[in-house]
Symmetry: C2
Subunit: 415 residues, 2 copies
């Protein structure tokens, strides 16, 4: 079965999204549970209802738009990604996957085509983790990794609880979080790396993720005057945090030859003011590598760097939070459907690993899951200059459609 | 002339101050132009009026309490310091100097003693610079270093203008800022260093300051995803700022043998969030040395460290603001009065340099000025554990009184 997708409609839908929560020209500032997030959610729900879908919102604000199947008792085939952005995000990151799923449901609606299994499009809450840590929070809750009460208790930098913020924007749904079978989950996302663009290949079939280990290190020292306190009596946490930040960066460079990465994304301190040494600081960092053992080794190197930084800055440094993702492998059955769809369309596809975290990682633990990449120009993302070649990206949407229809209509013998 | 100071009253006055803007137990959080600052100002003005003083408030909120002299046309002899604190300040830093001045005026009032020249006690606005940069702002404006409109335009981290904040707390006075003659300015302050405490000496006569050079370095890079972006394409300003922070700290250590210091007191970045590289960061830092040339050399070392940090982090780093203080020498005539007062009281005094910045530095450029230190325990300050031995501190208040009376009553032939 093939269907003519209306790409003009898809791109105008994406352009409408790009006008909600505008940041720098070309970019979006639509952090989770902000007013802009609410406006985008309202718009998405409106579009889904226009396309004949029923809407379900669960207790962490994940939105599911459902198109009934011929056999509506079957578990749904689900497409999706996220609609939230960082503070300087692009118009495609996450958004392409959700709105391409919407376009597929719209197309089925237009042509009055019904799949055997029901289809759903989901927008996961707080993929970016910009406002509330950790990232991929809604998908993680759906997969049972995070308890709903724990999710509700997350706070942002202003001390606002996730649960309050969710209720404020009117998206504290009543549906249970997870706990139901999905037939499969397919996520389309921009690559967020330069590979497909550089190779001139339009479709990435993501077989697995880079292994990621990250965490928050907390330094504790003592306030003092920035003047008279002698160097050997100072316990300035900003110095300890900076030392560790430099070491973390060095570790990424040491593994650059095999495409390893390390990142310090955040430093906070208190009082962090002129005239006074800071007695508290945190740095948020992670390491990533395609080879799991190497990633684990890099994370061990980060932790091994801590004692010297603590000693040299005369502070205590402890790992107070940590996370891991990217160890999952995607489902061979779903990957085969992507391969077949690409072949059927005559579209060259590259098998690759994802370097960024995605909602699909959590979903892979509870449902057969696969991830598809569309190229993005120069690999630039989390930046207002994020851009795609829309004509090239259309191939990935067609592959998504092909795989989803094949999965939803597969005969009983293959289930 | 000697007068019996009421130290019980002084210490209870300081205890009352210590209840306004309480932070951690033992400490104060009374940043400039906050509600706590207003409450303290109101209390101070009330006390001064009770002691028969007239109050003048200038356009940057400096408060002058005046006791008329026999010859009230003479320029006043002024005592003072500041009543604002850092976010984790002690109960004596600045406060001792203002409230010891008040105690002297109260004592004169009680005994109906009038000096030939008028006396004033001043509380300078924003000595700490915790909320509005730069520190010593009110005193600097009085000395003509900062234009009043420029002071009013300073903003805090929330974008609130100094002028607005001053009006909000009701201390936007109408008196011109500076532009009038002072006969002399005497500031009593806790040492904020360990020297007097360690030596068992109760009075420090400060002849000069450590030379201080400081500034804000700004890094500019580019946002990107913390995952796929290769190490050699990253332009993470947090890495550049951290590298520079480590270098600045190293420079202080290199001069530790001659009691040099360097400090990184503040790092800010944007977006400074998980998942995204920061494209903007600032670090606030300074260097201090007793030897002016060495201090200048240290500051040159800081600036020389910038290009390598910028190159290694692939960011631009520029010095966007800088300041200098501590080059001033205090007035020999005023210092002699302190020496004579100490001798007359039989109190051993140590001549020394100040390592912290003080309002007196700015005053020294427009009036004969001297600075007196009282010991503080272990040199601990800008910390809720700041403490003094009150009995030992009384000597410095007596020396202040002696010098002020001598100056205000000196015969025409010595003026």
């Amino acid at each position: 079965m093939t269907l003519p997708l209306d790409f003009d409609r898809l791109w105008s839908t994406i352009d409408r999204s790009a006008a909600i929560g505008t940041g720098r020209p070309g970019g979006l500032c639509r952090p989770t549970l902000s007013d802009a997030d609410r406006e985008m959610r309202d718009q998405f729900v409106h579009w889904c209802r226009e396309a004949g879908c029923t809407i379900t919102i669960d207790r962490v604000g994940n939105i599911f738009a459902r198109r009934a199947g011929v056999d509506d008792a079957r578990p749904p085939v689900v497409m999706g990604s996220h609609l939230d952005t960082t503070l300087n995000g692009g118009r495609y990151d996450g958004i392409l996957g959700v709105l391409a799923g919407l376009e597929i449901l719209r197309t089925l609606h237009d042509h009055d085509v019904r799949t055997d299994a029901p289809l759903e499009v989901v927008s996961w809450t707080n993929e970016e983790g910009t406002r509330f840590a950790p990232p991929m929070l809604g998908a993680g809750a759906f997969a049972g990794v995070y308890d709903v009460d724990w999710v509700h208790a997350r706070t942002d930098d202003d001390g606002v609880r996730f649960g309050e913020a969710l209720a404020r924007i009117g998206y504290a749904g009543e549906a249970p979080v997870g706990g139901r079978a999905l037939d499969a989950y397919f996520e389309l996302h921009i690559e967020q790396g330069p590979e497909l663009d550089a190779a001139g290949i339009d479709v990435g079939i993501v077989t697995r993720g880079y292994t990621v280990r990250g965490g928050i290190f907390e330094a504790r020292g003592e306030t003092a005057h920035t003047g008279p306190c002698p160097m050997d009596e100072r316990r300035n946490t900003l110095v300890g945090a900076s030392m560790l930040a430099v070491k973390v960066n060095d570790i990424g460079w040491a593994h650059h030859g095999t495409r390893g990465k390390s990142t310090v994304s955040r430093i906070v301190a208190w009082p962090n003011r002129p005239g006074i040494l800071s007695d508290w600081a945190q740095i948020t960092c992670d390491v990533r590598h395609e080879d799991r053992d190497t990633a684990l080794g890099m994370w061990a190197e980060v932790q091994a760097a801590v004692p010297a930084c603590a000693r040299d800055a005369r502070v205590e440094i402890a790992l107070v939070d940590q996370w891991s993702f990217g160890d999952e492998r995607f489902d061979e059955g779903c990957l085969d459907l992507l391969r077949q769809a690409a072949r059927g369309l005559g579209v060259p596809a590259r098998e690759m690993a994802s370097q960024a975290g995605h909602d699909a990682y959590h979903l892979a633990t509870v449902a057969p899951t696969a991830l598809i990449f569309a190229p993005c120009l120069g690999g630039i993302t989390h930046n207002h200059r994020e851009e795609i070649d829309r004509t090239r990206a259309e191939a990935s949407v067609r592959v998504l459609l092909g795989a989803v229809l094949a999965r939803a209509n597969r005969p009983l013998s293959e289930r």
